[in-house]
Point group: C2
Chain length 215, copies 2
């Protein structure tokens, strides 16, 4: 498997195809063409075929793809055929949003813990926003809880100044994957993976481009 | 102004520096060193100096930067010294989350409209989640409302299959900036700018890397 050579954009699109295939399967569709798949995912059909070609041969010429088979294959390729257990660290506005609106996560993702350095402060705000109480733990318990609850991935939504310290604790707890929502550049040892989501700053970037064009 | 040569990562960091400077100013601090600024933003001091050097000379050797001046300068550079008016199009889970948790937006961003092709369906769900009613409009009214409410930026959180159609409507309404949360690859004419936030698929990407390393 030439896993390392697959472009990130391809993996991103496979993830999108998977979402659409799931919809089709739920609607009872059995076959889908690359044109239909492409259209639903906002790309062109050649791109769909190229993306899939990284992983072998799929589909039947003149027919298209079997929805159920392709769905299962892609889930297996992406590692989405098992449960991934998430922890959110830093329960400010964004952390609270993620905690409350987990609906946008695929069903194989499960938020199993939430951490904040001031659990007693945020617990009230989370309950108020969610309309129900939530358990918020101190990050000092990360290692113990990671083991108990089998946490695979840590989502870091702390202030940027705290992010590296939290990442160190995540590594210490042997949680292999980090989704970093802060703009800090995190350093982790070999064998750990960080992915960055530059969420709020992308909007600033857009604004910068909009206003600099106007000059 | 060599605006086009500034790396995106620099703009992203300037945006982070701005957030921190605001905090300092609120705390009554008058001076900050590049080391302090760097630490709070999770980067190294040389990076701070390099980022600022794109835009001129700031700060005083041996002293650091004046908090208020640097804050104002960066706000002006980034275009954050004015109000930017946003519309959210597609009020599913993610759209609802953005609508309810606008707290994580800087104060110069204002959500002035929300659109969905099924306003009568989503309005109830939004009210339930937010604990208060919200106005949801049909995208057919985009052009008229964009003009009335002076919308600068459209945030697209529709299914990917709808995203290009919505982008066309946004262009038709002469809204110059698009923040695209869908994985669709949007085409817009010259003079319009699209920025992508691959929010939910980045998690899938991380999982793919985690599981492909385990093989």
């Amino acid at each position: 498997m030439k896993a390392t050579k697959v472009p990130e954009a391809t993996i991103r699109r496979l993830s999108t195809y998977t979402r659409y295939l799931k919809e089709l399967e739920e609607q009872g569709e059995t076959v889908v063409s690359s044109a239909q798949l492409a259209k639903a995912c906002g790309v062109n059909p050649a791109q769909v075929r190229k993306d899939l070609a990284y992983f072998g041969e799929f589909g039947i010429r003149g027919v298209g793809y079997y929805v159920k088979d392709l769905y299962e294959d892609l889930r297996r390729i992406l590692g989405l055929n098992r449960e991934w257990r998430l922890a959110i660290i830093g329960i400010g506005n964004l952390g609270t949003a993620l905690l409350n609106f987990k609906d946008f996560l695929k069903e194989n993702y499960k938020i199993v813990a939430a951490f904040d350095i001031k659990p007693e402060v945020v617990v009230g705000r989370v309950a108020e926003k969610a309309g129900k109480p939530a358990e918020i733990l101190h990050p000092d318990r990360l290692k113990e809880v990671a083991k108990e609850r089998k946490i695979d991935i840590a989502i870091i939504t702390t202030p940027p100044s705290e992010a590296q310290k939290v990442a160190d604790q995540v590594v210490e707890a042997n949680i292999r994957g980090i989704l970093n929502f802060t703009p800090a550049q995190l350093k982790v040892p070999r064998g750990f993976i960080v992915k960055n989501v530059y969420f709020t700053t992308i909007l600033d970037n857009l604004v910068y481009l909009l206003q600099s064009r106007r000059r």
